[in-house]
Symmetry: C2
Subunit: 619 residues, 2 copies
Amino acid sequence: MEEVHHVVAPPHKSTFQKLKARLKETFFPDDPLRQFKGQPLKTKFVLGAQYFFPILQWGPNYTFQLFKSDLIAGLTIASLAIPQGISYAKLANLPPIVGLYSSFVPPLVYAVLGSSRDLAVGPVSIASLVLGSMLRQEVSPTTDPLLFLQLAFTSTFFAGLFQASLGILRLGFIIDFLSKAILIGFMAGAAIIVSLQQLKSLLGITHFTKQMGLVPVMTSVFHNVHESIRKPKLFWVSAGAPLVSVIISTILVFAIKGQNHGISVIGKLQEGINPPSWNMLRFHGSHLGLVIKTGIITGILSLTEGIAVGRTFAALRNYKVDGNKEMMAIGFMNVVGSFTSCYVTTGAFSRSAVNNNAGAKSAVSNVVMSVTVMVTLLFLMPLFQYTPNVVLGAIIVTAVIGLIDIPAACLIWRIDKFDFIVMLTAFFGVIFISVQHGLALAVGLSTFKILLQITRPKTVMLGKIPGTDIYRNLHQYKEAVRVPGFLILSIEAPINFANITYLNERTLRWIEDEEDNKKEYSSLQFVILEMSAVSAIDTSGISLFRDLKAALEKKGIELVLVNPLAEVIEKLKRVDEADEFIPAQNLFLTVGEAVASLSTAMKNQSTIPEGAHTIMPHY
Amino acid sequence: MEEVHHVVAPPHKSTFQKLKARLKETFFPDDPLRQFKGQPLKTKFVLGAQYFFPILQWGPNYTFQLFKSDLIAGLTIASLAIPQGISYAKLANLPPIVGLYSSFVPPLVYAVLGSSRDLAVGPVSIASLVLGSMLRQEVSPTTDPLLFLQLAFTSTFFAGLFQASLGILRLGFIIDFLSKAILIGFMAGAAIIVSLQQLKSLLGITHFTKQMGLVPVMTSVFHNVHESIRKPKLFWVSAGAPLVSVIISTILVFAIKGQNHGISVIGKLQEGINPPSWNMLRFHGSHLGLVIKTGIITGILSLTEGIAVGRTFAALRNYKVDGNKEMMAIGFMNVVGSFTSCYVTTGAFSRSAVNNNAGAKSAVSNVVMSVTVMVTLLFLMPLFQYTPNVVLGAIIVTAVIGLIDIPAACLIWRIDKFDFIVMLTAFFGVIFISVQHGLALAVGLSTFKILLQITRPKTVMLGKIPGTDIYRNLHQYKEAVRVPGFLILSIEAPINFANITYLNERTLRWIEDEEDNKKEYSSLQFVILEMSAVSAIDTSGISLFRDLKAALEKKGIELVLVNPLAEVIEKLKRVDEADEFIPAQNLFLTVGEAVASLSTAMKNQSTIPEGAHTIMPHY
């Protein structure tokens, strides 16, 4: 009989070695210590310092040329950051000035720790919205503003703590579970909620629901709609760019003394930079549960945004950001923020794009922005006194409307219907239930899909592509043909407790279907399981083969395995050293070789597939 | 250039067709309606009736010969069922007689509906234990026995309802999540808890903790241990077979008037068969939550045992049991039971084995047992008056000790360390926390493992097995060799939102490793991704290829895909009809063909792999 290549188990490894390898792949897939290998101690130290403070990496060779571009970029994003900062703070039901505080300290921290060159750090709409709405469930920002502020800072602290620990414990993959589909749906939903809420200031509605849900918001809007006739003219200001509209409207209000004609304005803001706030953190009392929950959710959301932005621009400009390192940077930034009167911040989509377009070369643009904000805080605050709240509302709306990504939604519909459903779940969940529950539902659903793929793995029948010894899915490759006497199935998932029952039933049904139309094919003699896609197997999985073999023997059919991968063959060998239930001669490297050598072995020569001789390997 | 076989997408199917196919595979993998196809209406009706009442299938050709074996088997299991019924009822803190009721009605129902020939139906230790201990958390069986009984029947009702709906909704795969490892750990843990609890009657401890946890039980035991000296002689009776020990001990007690010397006995039991109990079901009040939870957990556990037993013996004796149908049968059996003073019942491991050994041929053995129990209920109850409780305790202990399966545990350790950990989790969880939490922990852990496999899929480097065009894992097949200029990676999991970040990073790291040791290999020109194991892909998955291609282009490396399966190629084509990011000439059917045709295409002829000519397909 012609040469056949045998399936071998991988070289033996101790449980400890395996565990070590597995842990490394799980937690250190990027192998961060690679660069340290074989370096002198001094270099190691320098590299270590550079790892934690990327500024030491790019700082030394930073030039005046680079600075010029960073200066322009920095001023540009500052002109966005100031009005947005004020607006988003209001979105989070916080005093406007906290928005500016949050645009001052965090960017400085990130400039030292962050590894992205394009991230523009500051408050973002989503996190602000979620923070505000979640805390509002227990504490009213109007009746008890101080407590609300304390909870906001405490939540920010927990958000940072959570983000940093994700990075330190290298559990970054947790944020991967907020899939693109979920984010698109979620952001669209959030945008709608925010816009509706802003109708408040846009329509000048004074009493407004504290609920997040769509229904109450709508009713509240329509209930107050009669007031909305009062000053619709200001509504259209929202068209203009943030800063311009702020300036114009402020001058306008100042000129016409609008504040006396019922136009609500920001009002006096105290000057000076961030006061310390560590004394405001509350780690006790009845609201602890809420702030921790809020911290975790805003933490995940802002982290997702920050990491996504970082990765996007890094890929665009061909440099690398280390996910786990970014998490530590953003996390530490928020912890420091919570000590210095800042609330949750991260890298903002919109501003980072502007930053990049304006030609930012490094994190210095963040420093420039931060300094600009500082100057504003120190000297320009009086100017904002007359800024009408309606403009801030307009700024928020224009910002969040941009989050609704219809084309992406269409693409998802085109590619994967289930992802589309997940997207809708996030969308409607956020609108009709709540941010946290909407997200939880969507994540649960998409996780359930993965489990379902495991619980109901595909088993496809393979056929021979004529004139080759390649065997492929009969359904996909129309030219492929069955080989008489053989049933060749490919199992397309790891085999484990969750699917052995199904695989057992399904395989037996394939065989019954065969026997039902025996007339067409000569009676079945071999069932070949192509295992190339079975990446893993567990205890229950092993028992599947034993059961299958037993069931097949009763029908006088032989069970043959093709190309079991390392883990599978290893465990098979371990459970029956005696090769009692899968003898070595029933293990093959390719379906071609299996069919070739088994056909020759077959008693009934007439069942050799036509052209079988061409199948014999040519070695 | 030599002929190359092209990757094709499967024939187009509408979303609805796909959905239909998917739902069928998910919920009807066994295709239950197959037998109905193309049958005349009358046959269809008969088949339908037989589907719901298997007795119509085997009833007609039931012979006296068969009956004789069933009679013997039936009497044998009755001799087990009566003492065990009484004992397990006490284990569930229910009046002993309920155990006999539960061995009378359910077997009759199962005989009509069930499709297994070997299942011996009745109360089982695990379910009894869980039912008793869970209900005891809120209601004391001693101070409020009636309420306790009501809750037990109501839980039984919900258990049956849940089991039946699993069958009707075809969600049977849910019980698969109680993997073998979990059950082994759980049963061992439960056995230990039960045995400790039974020390109560064995040592004649009168006041006993109502807690389940090991610690309280132990303390309570040792606290009462001084009493245990009183009558240790009875302890050894537990050695004998249940019925014998019951008879002997009863006679003994009766003879020595033991009940007057502090030996606690069952005492008077009223005669007569099951009274109706539908009026005792409580669907309102404060305990509803508990009974539903208890119903679901006992339901799942008893279902798992029943189905497992059924499948085991069906495989042994080469007939089929339909999982979903069995669930309906067991579920309906319990619903009827809850109306007729029975508590949760199912097919018992131990008794079914006895039943099978005693030569049972059909469900008639259950009928025989049931009739025997009926006779007992009607006429023999007075005999049990003097049966000492200690014997019942002994019976329980001997029964549950058999559930501890050390060899199976060792096998699991040999095959899969993680499964072993899961097993230990179930074991210690049940002992130290509680049944429901122990199980939840173990299930959660094993589900987490599956998700981890998806989140961190294996990527292995392939090499050419000399003298063939077969490419396999370099680590597994030592003889395999790298092909200069190529990096051939096999991705061994579906690609989705949960792993694209990892796959992206990991692949780029493979490439960097390559570039680091350029000296050994000629510089990298092609990265080939072998996709045979990528059974599914989602929206995010598609974006992985776009990102990878972009990243590779920057390094002047081409991305090549080999053997993308139906779903993958389909979605790829759908997203870029223009083949803009994976052009057709970068798709191949086998790695061999890819390497062959790309090497010839390579500028630098020197990088053709040695022996490349043998790679050219010989068609």
